[in-house]
Structure formats: structure tokens, C-alpha cells
Amino acid sequence: MRIAVVGIGIISAAGMGIAQTLESLRAGRSGIVPEPSHLATRHRLPVGEVARSNAELSEALGVTGTNSRTALLGMTAAAEALADAGGSRSNTALVSATSVGGMDLTECFFEEFGADDRRGRLRLAAHHDCADSTLAIARYCGVDGFTTTLSTACSSAANALMTAVRLLRHGIADRVIAGGADALCRFTLNGFRSLQILDPAPCRPFDALRAGLNLGEGAAYLVLERADEATKMPYCCLAGFANANDAYHQTASSPEGEGDYLAMRWALERAGVMPEEVDYVNAHGTGTPNNDLAEGIALRRLFGERMPLFSSTKAITGHTLAAAGAVEAVFAALMLRHGEIYPNLRFAKPDSRTKLCPVTRYRRQPLCNVLSNSFGFGGNCASLLFTRAE
């Protein structure tokens, strides 16, 4: 059973909505800013911040009251995806991914509660759990079917798309809105900083001198339907996918990139696509020395000398954590629809161990099979294979 992508929506540092995002991607315009302007942190680190305040996001959505930034970003992108798919349809499910949920509000709550547990506004604490943003999106979009939240760190949204396919194949839903949302917050910025994997400069995925990632934020959702019942001309099909575990270390990738390799190989096998039929890989490519090396080794293991074109778009968006898999799935859908590849910015010199050179300039290129990688903490490796719609 083929699964079609019939709607897409996105908000990230690359832009508000599909049209603006497409413009940034084609122009190779990075959304990374030298320091956050909406996030209340003392750190002056480059981030991929969405250029809207919570008040502006709320106003554009027409919502009032307290919402986490994750929920606001999620509602924005999911509503765009749904409108793009032609509006609502009955028996629609929602599978949403997040890793921070309402942590931005919990941080504010704890500023008072931490010193005195009788203080702190409960309204802020009520949005802490991951389900909160999902339920806000479900209400806003009028989702009437099965609704759930998935959280597997940086591979979350890719895994949400896999669960979405299952819900369609098992007839549990007729349409699924799937993707992820994560806002910048002090918790994650400081978390990645304490791990010493944030580049103090704009990130350089796959470059020999890469020095870490830039944290990003955003949300992206895809509307999936069974291809034979698709209500709209699809962007592409989600033909294969796999979730493999590196089973090596909580944060680091294994030296041979075993989980990365298995996820890609199994995704191809499930789709019945040979490695030489892959036209392009949207790499996880965070820009950390460890990730890009392990992923590079895994790519070499799978493709050998016949390496397809590839790039990491995280130099444009930053690493949007739980949303990344969906942000990049939206990019894959756009690339397949328009026959083009978006560049890997700031790459200068290949890593001598993998000798991999990504696409560094926007190019027109007809594509049939696009692989998209998302790897996360806990050795969680996810790979999605998108194919041209016909």
C-alpha cells in the first residue's frame, strides 16, 4: 500500500510557511542568527530562531491564553499542512513529536517555584508534558481521530511519520497529520552547551573543521493518506522507512555508524530500492565532529564510491531537534516536487576520513528517490525514503 504526502506545512528559521521557506532554500539563505532575540538566555550563541515572538505567533493564529512556544509553532505548521491538503477530512489522526514540550513555560514557573513551592503560577506548569502541545494542535486543527505524542530525541518526527504510515496501513485512520515541534528553550540550549557540542560560529556540516551544531527551533507537519484514496495530487510517496538502534552509547554514535547504516539499509529494503537508485540524501548532518563522521562512514558503507548527491540543510535551519525529521521531510517533498536540491552551506574542505563533499549550491535536478536521515540520543536512528509521486 503506497502512502502519499498530500499536504505540508512548516515554520523554522528558514521562514514562515512553505513559500518563504522555499525562497530561503533556493537562495541558500541561512536562518542562523548570531544570538537569540526571543529566548531569554545569557548565552550569545548562534541559533536558528523563528523570527516571531510568542505574541506575534498567537496573534497570527488568532489564539489567546497561555500556550507554550512549542504549541504555537506546532499549530502554525500543522494548520498550514492541513490547508495545503485541502482542509479537514473525517477520521484524521495526529502523531506529533516533541522533546521539550512546554519546557519554556516550566522554566518560568521554576524561577518562583524553585525557591518556594507555594509560588509559581500553575498556569505555566500545566503545559509541561509533551502531550500538551499535541492536544493544542489537535484542538486547533479539529482533529477527530487517534491522537498521540512520540518522543525519541532528535529522530522523533521521523518516527512519528513511521507511526503515521502504520495507522494508515492498519486502517486506524484515513488521514494522518504527522510531524514535530520544538521551541528553543534554556533547557536544551544549556544542555547541548554542557555537552560542548555547540559551535560558537554558524555550523559547518561535513566540513573537516566543523565544530558543532547550532540549535534551531521550528515545526513541520505532513498530511499523509493512502495513495489510492488521496484527496489531492501528492508531493511524493513515503515508500520506505526504518528505525534502528545503535545500541552503543546514550549520546555518541558508534565508530562504524552501525545504527545509521542499518536505518538507511532497512529503509531502502522496505521500499525495494537499491542503493544505486538513490538520487539524493538529506543527511542528519548536525555539524558535530562525532555525528558527521559516523554518518559519513555509514554513507560510505552503504554507497561505497557511488555516493549519491547529499547535503545537510541544518546549516540553514539549525538543529530543530524533535522537529528535524519533519522539517527535512518537508524539504524532501519540495525537492521531489520541484526537481531541485537545497545546499549544504559553509562547507569548504572534506573530512579526510570519508572524503564526502555535499552539494554546496542550489541546483535543479530531477529526483526519483530521496533518503532523509534523523539520528538521536539513545542511539535512535531513523531513515525515511521518499519517492516521486507517479
Binding site: R42, G114, T149, F187, A247, E258, N380
Partner: protein
Amino acid sequence: MKTCCYIERFATHDALTADPKKLVPDPMLRRRMSRVVKMGVLTALECLQGERIDAIVTATGFGCLADSEKFLRNLLERDEELLTPTPFIQSTFNTIGAQVAFLCGCRGSNTTFTHRGRSFESALLEASMLLAEGSARRVLVGAADERTPSQHRVMERMGLWRGREDGEGATFLLLSRVPSSESRACLTAIDFPDEPLDKEQIAVRYVADRVLCDDYALTGCYPTASARTLVHGIEALGGSVRRVAVCNSYLDNRPSIIVVACP
């Protein structure tokens, strides 16, 4: 939705028998684990009994609360400087699933659902779909949630403990695509009805000989308590009780139903 897979065995944290040192021999690894991670990992490994599995699906309503709080407090108290990453690393929602994969060398699908009172039901649904589609023959599925003083206090201030006993726990089940002589139950349905149902309505709709609703006096109230209640349901099977429905309406939300039958 109808399902058809078999529950081979289960383990619950409140009834662990194996020695933690045998389950996780590395003392460093044991020491690094927070309470909820230790609860979950030990329960998962006891359930597994060294058996090979193809996938791991975990559930948690709140995730690793203690580690999240530790990192958050440090961040605020130290004004975002000189932070140790360990609590941040371990605060990730998939920590338990990842640790279990690492300890048993399971490279297959590994997913974590965290959807408040429906976290466990979501995980169980995912596991049953993995089995039904043939992606896996044996799946470890389970849930864990911990009680922390701050969470207790916040929910107390919200008035959520009126008439409820606060709780925590970990429960894991080994699911199989095909039955064996050891099978304890057949998982026949997971359902999310649109409206509240009383015990009688549930018994009629799901043709159940017995209906178990949230009993927080027995399990304590936490988002994934229904996993523990499911074990009660499996234990109740036998004799004239051929089919049991477990109803979860965590914090008075819309119910989720899990139905198990004699294999």
C-alpha cells in the same frame, strides 16, 4: 481497533525478584541511572529474561522528571554556567528504551510514546501494529513513571489528588506474534471510545467477563498506571473469566480500553 498478538509474560517493578546487580552488572551504569530509569530498565530486563527481541516500545507520561528538574534547578541557580550534562542526557524521554536496547543489544525499532494518560495505550498499539505487519516477531513493550516531590506538590496545588492516591511504577510485557504454550493472554483490542462508559457498558461493548477500571488504591495514580492494571487483568483470566477489559480514564479524561482474553 482489533488486535491479535500474545502476551508471553510480564514483570512489574513492585514485584521484581531478580538481583539488580545481575540484571545490570556494570556498577557505573547502575549508579548513573535515575530512579525512573532504574525502575524501567530493571523491570524490562526481568521481563526479557535474556530473550532476543525485535523491537522495544516504551511509554512514559512525564519522562525522567527527577533528572529534568535537577538540570533545570542547576541552570537557574548557576545562572546558566558550569552545568554537568549527565542529568540533561538522562532527561530524554527515550532513555529507558535506549538503555534496554544497549543492555540487550537490540538494534531493532525503538520508540517512546509520551501522551499523558494514553502513553501506554499508544505504545501497545504501536507494538501490536509492528507484530501484525510482520516487522517484528517479539516486541518488548512497557511503561514507567516516577513520583517526585515537585511533581506531587504541583499536582497537589492543582487539586488533582483529591480522592486519588499518588503513585509510580514500571511494567513491561513481552508480546509475541504467535501463541506459545507459555502465552498468558491474547491482546484482542485497544480502543479509544469517544464517550465515557460505565462498567456495564464496557462489559457489553467488549464482551468482557470482567471489567477493571483505574483502581488507584491498588496501583496509585500515575499516567501509565493502566499498564499495571493490565497485569491485574491478565492475572484475572482463567476459569469462567475468559475475557477482561481494562479501562483507563486517567484524571477523568476520555477512556482508553485494552481487552485481553485467554490465549
